[in-house]
Symmetry: C2
């Protein structure tokens, strides 16, 4: 069982507390992405130290390897990953539609070949919630059909209807045999307000523990994404947590919080770190730029993460340029810390009513917009 309480509002933005079997999460919150059970290059103890409240793992990947039975036998996903705080698992819908081979979809579910070994696998709305129950996750997600961008309204409507039908089955299966945590529904519907509106209304009637907005950050223009987020968020129940899947850059998160979103995940902090790009309070630092070769300053002089307390931009630039994995590790620690600090600032601004004001916290300043927004989805099939 999970609970959610809004403790402050600022326009549509909310500050809240999400209670789960493995602890409470202060929202708005960012969930570092641990697709296979670990954030790339970061030990679980270090993640705790950075202040991560909840991790996102991926059912598709875990079901294929090491397999649900193995994890269950080892005591569940928390014991397996050595992470004692809350975990949300994405249902794998996105991965089935972007990564798996020879996919055949029908009203009862989807059959596909594993991208690892070609083995035939079938996911149904019922099996997906059952697997997440067995993993013992704090937040389970329903199976959804996640169409690519762009699609027409008819196709978007068909996918949203199927996602709704699957959501009903998932909801029933969960009610019959609930897991320890909560179950979230997912709103699909592409860029079409009426489709999204109907999906939001139908899902709301099913009384999920929370609601996600899916099918964004799949390549659509920023303007459309923002309109979709605003329009959909406004039509979700106010008393339940709202999760925007796979978004995004700090400025996207700032916008979405103002639209009433409570939970986020994104691979950008880790992915950009691998490419030598640091999020800082004064914009993006691209370590491959020659100006950082001799720069003795910390990656972000206003940051107190373990990386910024210790190493210089010059060392990071050297390690990244040399392809040395330590550069990626140190940069990931900083970028994740930046995101987690950014969310803490947002929570404070929301509580003090400063979120919408122009003079709000410096950390909320947008990073360099040249970072591609569409590169940010955690629902991208990078294993």
């Amino acid at each position: 069982m999970i609970g959610f309480q809004v403790t402050a509002t600022d326009g549509a933005a909310r500050r809240g507390v999400l209670s789960t079997p493995h602890g409470t999460i202060e929202t708005p919150a960012f969930m570092p992405v641990a697709t296979l059970g670990a954030v790339k290059g970061i030990a679980p103890g270090e993640l705790e130290g950075l202040g991560a409240q909840i991790l996102l793992a991926n059912l598709y990947h875990l079901a294929l390897r090491p397999g649900i039975e193995t994890i269950e036998r080892l005591g569940g996903l928390h014991a397996f990953t050595a992470w004692g705080r809350p975990i949300l698992t994405d249902s794998g819908g996105y991965q089935v539609f972007s990564l798996a081979e020879r996919r055949v979809i029908d009203d009862g579910g989807v059959t596909f070949r594993s991208h690892l070994d070609g083995a035939a696998v079938r996911f149904t709305p019922e099996s997906v919630v059952d697997m997440q129950r067995r993993l013992g996750v704090d937040v389970a997600m329903v199976l959804d059909e996640c169409p690519p961008w762009p699609i027409g309204e008819e196709e978007a409507s068909r996918a949203a209807e199927r996602t709704l039908a699957w959501a009903r089955k998932a909801r029933e299966a969960w009610a019959a045999s609930p897991g320890p945590g909560g179950l979230f529904g997912i709103v699909q519907g592409g860029a079409f307000p009426t489709v999204r509106e109907r999906a939001a209304a139908e899902l709301s009637a099913l009384d999920f523990d929370g609601y996600a907005i899916g099918g964004v950050s799949v390549g659509e223009p920023e303007e459309i994404r923002r309109r979709t987020v605003e329009h959909t968020a406004a039509r979700l129940p106010t008393g339940k947590p709202r999760y925007l899947m796979g978004v995004g850059r700090p400025e996207d998160i700032g916008h979405a919080v103002a639209a009433g979103i409570d939970l986020f995940d994104c691979v950008l902090p880790a992915r950009n770190a691998r490419h030598g790009e640091l999020f800082t309070r004064s914009g993006v630092v691209r370590l491959k730029n020659a100006r950082y070769r001799d720069d003795p300053r910390p990656p972000d002089p206003d940051c107190s993460c373990p990386t910024c307390r210790r190493v210089s931009r010059a060392l990071l630039a050297h390690l990244v340029r040399s392809g040395e994995v330590t550069g990626m590790v140190l940069a990931t620690v900083h970028n994740l810390s930046f995101y987690l600090d950014f969310m803490a600032d947002i929570r404070q601004a929301t509580a003090s009513g400063e979120l919408a004001s122009p003079g709000r916290s410096q950390t909320a300043r947008p990073a360099d917009p040249a970072v591609s927004p569409s590169a940010g989805s955690s629902r991208t099939p990078t294993p």
Copy 2:
């Protein structure tokens, strides 16, 4: 300036203290390999926590990138690497002979093409010690000619003579313009006792701050390596530290300590971690072996490193099998910790006279001998 004091002996084995500008090192000691200035995947703060007393970096790599001038401008190698404890730099002799292209050697030095960009570079005995002086390292190494295995006696003798001639030039250059730390000579001579003997005698007369045995762990059989180590170590000054370059497996280190060696470096802990092989007190654990998929035990139940305190063999096996970099990071932390603990046990055994006795510390038990000994040289050209 550096100093060395033997505080206990056990047969030929010694326990000692090496004093350097950046602190003292209890010997026998293992130096984690930080070729480019960082141990692969491990932050400097974490290395400190594991108890690393001294790091080994590589002049060849650092001279090519980011360049000596850059490091000097940033305050020297300690400031650049954010590592405040002692650093030894290998001279790059091995890399020049194994990694560089179009190498031309003459009595004055060696000219080669950078493996990074093909730029022409010349290393001389004088320039190599000068660069290490500018880096501000605690222990500098002379330029040596490191011939491959196998070679005949005449060729080994020629390389040893050239290494000796270079050592004289290096010694003079260092005396004229010394760095803050000490300078070690290197004994070459292949597998030929008389060549090694002459090299050891001539080098000893030059009064270096310490003496290294080079040209081992280059592919020769274990029997020959051990004989060479025993024979050469016995002919080096007793009052100076002795460093066996690029060796090796725990059992090789145990043997070399008994022969009177004080300092070691080896890439095995990190390299084996990348391949999913853990050193443990009960032998090598090969994580890709199916038996570890379901194993909830820590990697080494008798180890108290951050990895063993937290994660299971099953998680590590999953991450390694998935090619997830976190698996390598967690395994490297353990393997380095194992080596550092192993050295601490050896120091204790040496001090209490138990090193040579059959019932000595369990951690000194050989790991699985199937791990290739020749794979252990830190003087291997893996960047």
